[in-house]
């Protein structure tokens, strides 16, 4: 239905952040998955049932209709009665029987036109995307021209020259002119698929083009192809009925549009035969609705963002309603943030998934705390839970715990109260400034927004402050009035950091702010962040998957695994004496510049599915030192020499 839904699907298929299980359940497009998704979607079931009724009626009209639809043997213009359920026409026919027999033609036109238009759309859309270059240019231009030309008047022009030219001609004309919308969508999806890895590998394997298109590209586009079919079928139903209604169809054919034509020309509504005009219209609307409902449902299925899921808290295992906390909601003076027992769950089709499980941490004034872990370990979710920014595309809910900041529990605050804290005292820097800066506003406008929300600064003061923070991150203030797309990647990232410093907050939360940059730019940005932090005295929570990046900058490191704290300790200590086998694995995964040459070891296996976490230690399945007691029960955190570790071996000084 919407051109944009394709783009949305692509983004959702590979979200930059967020727990793994969410990614896996996105409708892939294979037939089996689609069928399962349909049977779960109420709109799809309703549409399918409706369509089924019409199909049955169109196959067995003789068995269902009480009379011959062409017989003109009844008294004219009767009202509804037991003999004539919907009355008779002024032409002495039985309306109900006409209606039943009219089903077939509408359905045949819908299905045939849908089929022709879909085949053409696939052929043209996919070849345009796959051939590229001039061929793509020409095919796309033709597609766009046919798309914006008012097709229905054009069809009228064509049929006006060939009145009563029959069903076949009608289907061909509607089909040949109705493919453009689908072709456009299919082309853009095929374009986005072209660069996917599995296709690259098919090309490298030297498979034939046709084979690649038929067996690699088309199956992944099933849901869009079905949507194209449904969309063009709906259009065919309405267009054909319109043509028949104005007398451009065969006036002797049995169809709903023709019934409406006769009803209109005999003024059925004014002459007391309302059902003559009402019934075929209702049938058209129902058939159209069947296609529209299915189409809409497919839109939902192919872009899961359109569905709303409810988090069923009762289904979260081993979690009772937390007892009222009695300790005062005040963080000790030396820390700016204190997180206690924070847990976050996501609603998925398979039930709730706990992505952050009972995390405790604290950040001191001016401290630099780094959170590291593989992607999908819940570090971004933790970050956005702390900042109270969960919601699409991270639709998690905080299911327990406290976030103490400036003497109040952020978890309990209303959005209105939160706004007073945001940006003045707690700001956020996101992974990709490309996506985090509003593309339609200049940097200056986005800074002004923040200033206006939290201060009574004048226009001149805002301008001056904006220039000042840009200079802080070494951007020439001439760029202040640029749009984000006019800046380089590094500059955008710096501009976002500048924006975060507008009010010199107590705490800046950073979600992999350097991962979109090259190695050299990464370094210099890190050095700058550290410098600013020391100069301005704000605390930083810095999330990254790159342990080596933060090793020289962070005061403490928090290693997360599968939604839990694995180890929390000073950076020095963790690098010198990693206590958790997972931390050891992470350290062995990158080379030391000065140290002796050693073989690099990764960590075998991959993180567990959080929907079904392993019993006991979650790292046990991948751990080289696993013991029977590791899997016997939840492993608690233990404190060893100031480090916090979740491992049964930790206390033995492993």
């Amino acid at each position: 239905m919407s051109a944009s839904s394709i783009g949305a699907t692509d983004q959702l298929a590979t979200p930059p952040i967020g727990p793994k299980p969410l990614v896996a359940e996105v409708g892939g497009g294979r037939l089996g998955d689609i069928w399962r998704a349909i049977s779960r979607n109420r709109k799809a079931v309703a549409g399918l049932l409706l369509l089924l009724v019409f199909v049955v009626v169109s196959i067995f009209p003789g068995q269902i209709a009480p009379d011959d639809p062409t017989a003109q043997t009844y008294p004219p213009a009767l009202g509804p009665s037991w003999h004539h359920l919907l009355g008779t026409t002024s032409l002495r026919q039985d309306i109900f029987s006409q209606l039943i027999f009219g089903t077939r033609l509408s359905l045949v036109i819908a299905l045939a036109v849908g089929a022709i238009a879909t085949v053409l759309a696939v052929l043209i859309g996919v070849s345009a995307a796959y051939l590229g270059g001039i061929a793509d240019g020409i095919l796309s231009l033709v597609t766009d021209v046919i798309l914006v030309l008012p097709i229905f008047p054009l069809i009228i022009v064509i049929t006006a020259y060939r009145k009563n030219s029959g069903l076949f001609m009608l289907i061909i004309v509607l089909g040949v002119l109705g493919w453009s919308y689908g072709a456009r969508q299919l082309r853009s999806q095929a374009l986005s698929l072209r660069t996917r890895e599995f296709l690259e590998s098919a090309r490298v394997r030297g498979e034939r083009r046709l084979y690649v298109i038929l067996f690699e590209i088309l199956p992944t586009m099933t849901s869009l192809i079905v949507a194209t079919f449904l969309g063009s079928a709906l259009y065919a139903v309405l267009a054909a009925a319109g043509l028949q209604f104005i007398g451009l169809g065969d006036p002797n054919s049995q169809s709903w549009g023709t019934m409406l034509y006769w009803a209109q020309s005999n003024e059925a509504l004014f002459a007391g035969m309302p059902w003559w005009a009402l019934a075929p219209g209702i049938c058209l609307a129902l058939l159209g609705a069947a296609f529209a409902l299915l189409n809409y449902a497919f839109d939902e299925i192919s872009s899961p963002a359109l569905r709303v899921r409810k988090l069923e808290r009762s289904r979260i295992p081993g979690r009772l309603p937390s007892p009222a906390d009695t300790t005062p909601a005040v963080a000790p003076d030396r820390s700016v943030l204190k997180v206690e027992g924070l847990s976050v769950a996501y609603a998925t089709d398979a039930g709730p998934v706990v992505a952050v499980d009972n995390v405790d941490l604290d950040v001191g004034r001016g401290e630099f705390l780094a959170i590291v872990g593989e992607s999908g370990c819940g570090k971004s979710t933790l970050l956005y839970a702390i900042a109270r920014l969960l919601g699409a595309p991270l639709p998690g809910e905080i299911i327990g715990g406290r976030v103490l900041f400036q003497g109040q529990d952020l978890v309990l605050l209303e959005e209105r109260e939160l706004r007073r804290v945001r940006w003045r005292d707690l700001s956020v820097v996101m992974q990709s400034a490309m996506n985090a800066l509003n593309p339609v506003l200049t940097v200056a406008e986005q800074m002004r927004d923040a200033c206006r929300a939290h201060s009574k600064m004048s226009k001149a003061e805002i301008e001056e402050r904006s220039r000042e923070v840009l200079r802080l991150v070494s951007i020439d203030p001439v760029h202040l009035h640029s749009y984000p797309h006019q800046l380089s990647g590094g500059m955008r990232q710096r501009a976002m950091i500048a924006m975060a410093l507008l009010f010199t907050p107590d705490l800046v939360i950073m979600d992999e702010p350097t991962s979109a940059l090259d190695v050299v730019a990464q370094r210099s940005l890190m050095v700058q962040i550290k410098e600013l932090q020391e100069r301005l005295g704000f605390a930083v929570i810095f999330v990254t998957h790159d342990m080596s990046l933060v090793s020289h900058f962070s005061d403490r490191l928090l290693v997360m695994y599968a939604g839990q704290v694995a180890e929390l300790s000073s950076t020095r200590e963790l690098f010198d004496r990693p206590r958790h086998p997972y931390s050891q694995g992470l350290l062995e995964a990158f080379p030391s510049i000065r140290g002796p040459k050693v073989r690099l070891l990764g960590i075998p296996g991959s993180p567990p599915d959080l929907a079904h976490p392993p019993a006991g230690c979650r790292f046990a399945p991948r751990c080289a030192h696993v013991q029977p007691r590791c899997t016997e029960g939840e492993v608690p955190l233990s404190t060893v020499n100031g480090s916090v570790v979740r491992c049964v071996l930790a206390e033995e000084g492993h």
């Binding site: 798309l147 914006v148 054009l154 060939r162 609307a285 159209g288 706004r419 804290v421 929300a453």
Partner: protein, 327 residues
């Protein structure tokens, strides 16, 4: 600027395609159907006008196809669209221009209204995910957008004119009136336009609501919307300047693409209401086999749709700085 120029180029290509279709279609039909029409003109119009019609419909011209084509293009651009049979001996252009204001007023304003309202409702629905607006309206509008326009037109006449007697059932104004710029006439015209306008509004608004809702839902997952929340902006500001302004961009493209569909439905609505606009006249010309008038009206419909698309493009360029930069 490049964006606007490119869209202007597209405008011209599409217009050219429509004009060419006009030239080609009658020539493709077996046993040129325009022949019959031509015999009705003979002796009634001057030879020059007759010759122009012969070129337009490919009737026994001695010219080569190519030179006939260029003569035809020249005629179209000078506004020589032939003589109408239905309103003999009016030039086609004269009739077209007479019908156009009615259609622009009715369909133009209704379509803009439907687009604006639908976009607003769609945005608010997406913003309040799972709210009443969001859970009730989409399914309803999925179904109403599948209604045949003309059937809803018939239904509304039956209900509001016949049964309830609230509004006039057909025409653009009372037959005892004569068109003039008087309050009395304008009031009359407005009263006559309410039912057709409502019909078009009800059937077309659903599409805008649904596409805007879906756009807005995917825009709401963007980082810049979360960033706006992190900045502590008011929900109002986040919804309009961050979510809305970005979500409306694909909706403007959608507007351009679905306009043809709306106009098609509107033609039938005019027909049912006997509304004296382009659509009604178009179907009259079809019935009378007045091909010259029919083709002239088809061109004006294409021109109107393309102009509206160009306007949507201009709005896109205005709202999206990325399209303004030469790349």
């Amino acid at each position: 600027m490049r964006f606007v120029l490119r869209r202007l180029g597209f405008f011209l290509v599409t217009l050219w395609a429509a004009i060419t279709a006009n030239f080609v279609i009658p020539r493709l039909m077996p046993g040129n159907p325009a022949l019959a029409m031509m015999s009705r003109y003979r002796g009634h119009i001057n030879p020059q006008a007759l010759h122009a019609l012969e070129i337009a419909f490919g009737v026994k011209t001695h010219q080569s196809l190519l030179s006939a084509y260029f003569t035809y293009l020249g005629n179209v651009f000078r506004g020589h669209l032939g003589i109408s049979l239905t309103f003999f001996p009016d030039p086609v252009l004269h009739d077209v221009l007479q019908a156009l204001p009615w259609t622009l007023a009715l369909i133009g304003s209704t379509t803009i209204l439907a687009f604006v309202l639908g976009t607003l409702i769609g945005l608010v629905g997406a913003w309040r995910r799972g709210g009443i607006l969001d859970s009730v309206l989409p399914p309803i509008f999925v179904i109403t957008s599948a209604f045949p326009y003309f059937w809803l037109a018939m239904l509304s006449i039956w209900l509001f004119s016949l049964k309830l007697g609230w509004l006039p059932q057909s025409g653009g104004y009372d037959i005892i009136d004569t068109p003039a710029w008087s309050w009395h006439f304008i009031h009359d015209a407005v009263v006559h336009s309410i039912l057709p306008a409502l019909t078009i509004l009800v059937t077309s608004i659903g599409g805008w609501i649904l596409t805007m809702r879906n756009n807005a839902i995917s825009v709401l997952t963007e980082d810049y919307v979360r960033m706006a929340r992190a900045k502590g902006l008011s929900p109002w500001r986040v919804m309009w300047t961050y979510a809305g302004r970005n979500a409306i961009l694909p909706n403007l493209t959608g507007f351009a693409m679905s306009l043809g569909f709306v106009v098609s439905g509107a033609i039938l609505v005019e027909f049912v209401f006997n509304y004296p606009g382009v659509g009604w006249m178009f179907l009259q010309s079809v019935e009378n086999q007045d091909y010259a008038l029919m083709q002239g009206l088809f061109l004006i419909i294409v021109l109107a749709v393309l102009t509206a698309i160009l306007a949507a493009d201009a709005a896109t360029a205005l709202l999206d700085p990325r399209t303004r930069d030469v790349r």
